[in-house]
Structures are given as C-alpha cells and as structure tokens.
C-alpha cells in the first residue's frame, strides 16, 4: 500500500500540492491524469521520497516513508523519471544492470542474470544490449530505463513481497506498439503484487488499462476511482477544458474517449 495523508508541498509559499490524500494498493495499476502543471510529477516525487512534503505524511507498507532505510526502500520501490540522459558511454546492458547496484550479495549470479536477460527480452531491448545508451532513440532509452527499474525490485518481487513502481510519463516517447506493450506489461506486473503508479496523458490508455484513476488539477486531486466512473465527459471538460464524449465499441467490449 502506498498512501498519502493530507500532503501539501510548497515552493516559496506556492502550493504545488494541496492537501492530497490518496491510496494506491498492490495489485492495481493506478494512473494519474491531469493537465500540465496539475502537480502530477510533484506528487510522484513526493511518493518516491525524492521530495519531502511540507505538511502531511507518505506511507509505504503502512510505514512512514521517512522511516525507511534507503537501500531497503530501493529494493522494494523503483522509479522511472521523465528525463534519463546519460553523458557517459555506458552500454545498454550496463544501464539495465545498474538496477542491481544496491543489491546485497552477488549481484551477478547466473540465476539473477538469466532473469535480467528475460526482462530485456520482455522490454524488446535484448538486441540492443551492446549498443551505447546515448546512441539510442528516445523510446528505446525509455524502455531501457523501465527495464532498469524492474530489475531493481526483481529480487523482492521474486520473494513475493509487494513492490512499488512509479513512472513519470513512461509512454511519452514510445510508438503505439510499444505503448501498448508497456501498458500490458505494467498491467501484468500489477497482477503480480506490484503497486504500479504511472502518469499518463492518453485518456484512452487510462480507460483501457487503469484500475484506479487519480484526476488532478491545480495541485489538487479532483477525483479518484475506477476509470469508468472518473473518466466522464463532464470531468474531462472540467479538468482538461476539452469537449468530448465517451463511446463504446459496437461489441460493447471497450469504451473510448473521442474529442468533438
């Protein structure tokens, strides 16, 4: 469980987050939606511990985030940030292996390496492993960063512990195929006791994959709940100032949002 209790985050007296209480649980894929400047990234940073809330507390596994030991936390919670440039000639497998930098014991054991390799195949970057990270396209870099984040918590996940995966716009530079592949992977992870929290801009991806939607505007949470309730044309108009409507496929299998 990852939860915030009335957190407020200020920079020079401006509230970037106002009194936010949300709860995300393992087994669910939670998606944060909202326009630019809504405070989505700031919320993720407060959840990861990178930023310390001005007021209120963040709890991970019912334990205050402040009381977590750094490397223990890292073995359970990994983060994919928005910008991941690297100025040194690391190759792809090295970047992925950095997920294991803090793993105690033999981080290069054959068993672990096989699983890292599977992960790279799953992220469709296995063929890139000898390439220099800095020479990859933005989407490829994104997939490498996600693989690194998954590798980081692989050991704990394998031991059956609940793991937390926070992603800031993970689909931003991916092509359509990789967007859906990633979302399917995240969904699948969430079903394996992961608590996945991702910021998305694509409403339809949220409808299709999210278990929980957190709708934000101006540093406040406007609504939380399952996508069917939250993603309504009224809410979308309110939050994004767009006019659109929800349609359903003729076979009734899927809903989607279209702009008018």
């Amino acid at each position: 469980m990852l939860a915030t209790d009335k957190i407020t985050y200020q920079i020079s007296d401006i509230d970037l987050l106002k009194n936010i209480s949300v709860e995300m649980v393992a087994g669910q894929l939670s998606v944060i939606l909202g326009p630019n400047g809504a405070g989505k990234s700031t919320l993720i940073k407060n959840l990861s511990g990178e930023l310390k809330s001005t007021k209120g507390e963040v709890y991970l596994d019912s334990k205050n985030l402040k009381d977590w030991n750094n490397s223990l936390l890292a073995s359970r919670r990994s983060v994919v940030t928005q910008f991941n440039s690297v100025n040194f000639p690391f190759n792809v497998s090295e970047i992925v292996m950095m997920g294991l930098l803090n793993t105690p014991g033999d981080s290069e054991s054959a068993d672990l390496l096989t699983r890292v390799e599977d992960m790279m195949k799953e992220m469709d970057i296995h063929h890139l492993q000898q390439r220099l990270y800095s020479t990859l396209s933005g989407g490829e870099q994104q997939r490498v960063s996600i693989a690194r984040a998954l590798v980081q918590v692989m050991k704990a996940a394998n031991e059956g512990q609940a793991c937390y995966l926070l992603l800031d716009e993970p689909t931003a530079s991916l092509d359509l195929k990789h967007q859906h592949e990633l979302m399917r992977l995240l969904k699948q992870k969430s079903m394996q006791k992961f608590c996945v929290v991702a910021i998305l801009h694509d409403i339809n991806l949220a409808i299709q994959y999210a278990d929980l939607v957190i709708l934000m505007k101006n540093g406040e949470v406007i609504a939380t709940g399952c996508p069917n309730e939250i993603i309504s044309s009224d809410n979308m108009k309110d939050v994004f100032s767009i006019n659109g409507k929800l349609e359903t496929l003729t076979d009734g299998s899927q809903r989607f949002y279209v702009m008018e």
């Binding site: 511990g49 890292a74 940030t81 910008f83 100025n87 690391f90 090295e94 930098l101 803090n102």
Partner: protein, 359 residues
C-alpha cells in the same frame, strides 16, 4: 549473429577489463623504472636496478658511485613517487568530479579547483604564515597542504552550489562557471602578488606552472600516505558514481544516500587535488584526458574507470616528467606545460565531438 547470453558477455567484458588494467599496471612499472633510469645524468639501467635493489634490501651493501646513488635515491626516487601520487590523484579526482557533475569535461584544472587550491596556497604564504606566527608563535606542520585542500574544497562547493540546479544540467554551464572561477582565483593571486615581498614572490612563481622538481622524501612521503588513503576511499565509490551518472534523483531512487556520497566526493576529491597542488602547483588536463582514455579502453563502468585512471594517470605523469627533464636540458620545462600541450587540443577535440560521443 549468434547472440551471447548476458552472463557470458559480462564475463568476457570483465576479463577484457582485467587484462587492460594488468597491461596498464605493467606500463606503470615500466614508466616508474624509466623515471628512475632516464635523466640528464646518464646512469646505466643495470646500476639503477642494483641501487634500487640495495635500497630495498637492508642486508646488501654494494658500493655505488656516490653521485649516481644520490641522484637515483634522493632526486629521482621522490620525484617518481610524487609523479605517481599527483597523476593518480588528479585523474581519480577528475573521474569523480565528472560523475558528480555528470560532465565528462570536468577536469580539476579546467573547472578551477586546482586554481582554488593554488590560490589558497599562495594566500597561506603571503598572509597566512605571518598571521599564524602572530597567533601561535610557530608555523603548524602541513599548513600549506591543508590550506591548498581547503582552497580546493571551497572551489568545488562553490561550483556545486552554482551549477547543481536540477538534473538536466548543461555541460557548458560548468565550463563557464570554471572560467569565472579560474579568473577569480587569478585576480586573488594577483592581489596577493601585489602584497607579497621579494622572498614570497620567488615562492609564488612555482605555483603558476606545475613542476615535480621540488620533490623531497620529507614532503613526498606524508603526501603519499595521505593520497593513498584519499584515493583508496574514492576508489570504493565506483558503484555510487555509476548511479550518479544517471542523475542524482535516480541515484537516490536506486537506494544511495545521495547527500553522504556527495559530501565524500566533494571532500575527498578536493583533498586529492589539494594535496597534489600543494606539492606540484597547477598541472592541468590530467583529470580530463586520463579518465576519457580509460573509458575508451574499458567502458564507462566507474568501478574500473577509477582504478584505470589512477594507474594511467600515474603513467602519464611519469612520462611527461621524463620529457620535462630532457627537452631543454640542462634547464627544465615545467611539467604543466607538457600536460597542457597534450590536454588542451584533446579538450577541444572532445568539445567538438561531443555530439557524436553522446554528451
């Protein structure tokens, strides 16, 4: 193409790296021997080796020609050791600053850390000594290297506070800040030169152009012990530096105690540069050229880059020193001139190629 398994390719890479490091170590032994054997005074290699053997073995006392023995043991000996320690210290500090600032061009000389150390040393000579004598009545031992290290520390802190705004930091910003810091240190030194008397002025000329010529066991031995400790601590930070290469936020997410590691890098990096500058003056570009060559040879993994930089930095310094002794003999060229001669064009090359090199 048959694709290798990850563990196979990692193993192969590991072996490659170990091989390169071993070759570098052999190169270091050869350059140290060359440093002991080559000089304006011609001494046969066999005699150098025999003198060395006798010095290390208290039970043998062969007769050597006094001047030869003196040149090898009290002139070239400390000089070679000083070359090793400054080369290793500057190269390792360079690699650390590069990861800390996420900037492959961060050389202690280029970004003004060496200048900060030298300025502090000059300040110590011109005003500090008199001040300390008036307070304590005597001069504390190692006052000069301590001043140099504090100067280096202040410079890194200033750069860090100025430059560290968010992760997406532009490579050029640090270089521009370095220009400003170098200029500032230059003017402070200028003021100090104005305040100095004739005797002090003579000492000051030494700081502007680096040289190993003043090496003596008395000062080199404690500096060597100190550098071994400082460099040793920095060498254990390879994993952390790898994490820092992804940015501070990612290093934190990976579970590193970012603030502690930053402190260690800043303090011990400054201590390495300060100790080197205190004994040799400003020697530029070693911290830029060496880590870069090492990365070309064995990749960017800092666990290996740091060790490789220490070894190759020592090699470069020893070879450059041999040139500095031989080119204009019987006079001597300051070694800083030689390293800049190699380093400055290399710096421009990196600056021009940086898009292709990926930074």
């Amino acid at each position: 193409m048959v694709s290798q398994s990850l563990s196979e390719s990692l193993n192969k890479l590991h072996q490659q790296r170990i091989t390169v490091l071993l070759v570098m170590s052999a190169l270091l032994v050869v350059s140290a021997l060359m440093g002991l054997a080559i000089g304006p005074l011609q001494i046969p290699l066999a005699e150098v080796v025999s003198i060395l053997y006798d010095k290390l073995n208290p039970f043998v006392q062969n007769q050597h020609e006094r001047v030869n023995e003196m040149v090898v043991s009290s002139l070239r000996g400390p000089r070679v050791l000083l070359g090793i320690l400054t080369g290793a210290a500057l190269a390792v500090a360079g690699a650390c600053f590069q990861a800390l600032f996420r900037n492959p061009l961060a050389d202690p000389g280029v970004i003004g850390v060496s200048a900060g150390a030298a300025t502090a040393a000059v300040a110590y000579i011109v005003v500090g000594q008199g001040f300390l004598i008036s307070i304590f009545g005597f001069l504390p031992k190692y006052g000069l290297p301590i001043a140099a290290m504090l100067g280096a520390l202040l410079s890194v802190l200033a750069l860090y506070l100025f430059v560290n705004r968010k992760n997406g930091l532009d490579v050029a910003t640090l270089l521009l800040a370095g220009i400003a810091l170098n200029a500032f240190c230059g003017s402070v030194t200028g003021i100090l030169v104005y305040l100095s008397d004739d005797q002090q002025l003579r000492e000051l000329t030494f700081w502007t152009l680096g040289s190993l010529a003043r090496a003596q066991w008395e000062s080199v031995t404690p500096a060597f012990i100190w550098s071994v400790i400082v460099i040793g601590i920095l060498l254990t930070k390879g994993r952390a530096l790898n994490a820092f290469s992804l940015g501070e936020a990612n290093a934190y997410h990976l579970g590193f105690n970012v603030d502690t590691i930053k402190r260690i890098l800043i303090i011990f990096g400054a201590a390495a540069v300060g100790a080197a500058v205190a004994l040799t003056g400003i020697i530029g570009f070693v911290g830029l050229v060496i880590p870069h060559i090492v990365r070309l040879l064995i990749g960017a993994d800092n666990r290996y880059v740091l060790v490789g930089s220490a070894i190759l930095g020592a090699c470069l310094m020893l070879v450059a020193d041999i040139f500095s002794r031989m080119i204009v003999q019987p006079a001597e060229l300051p070694i800083g001139i030689i390293t800049s001669l190699i380093g400055a064009p290399f710096f421009l090359y990196l600056l021009r190629k940086r898009r292709q090199l990926g930074f």
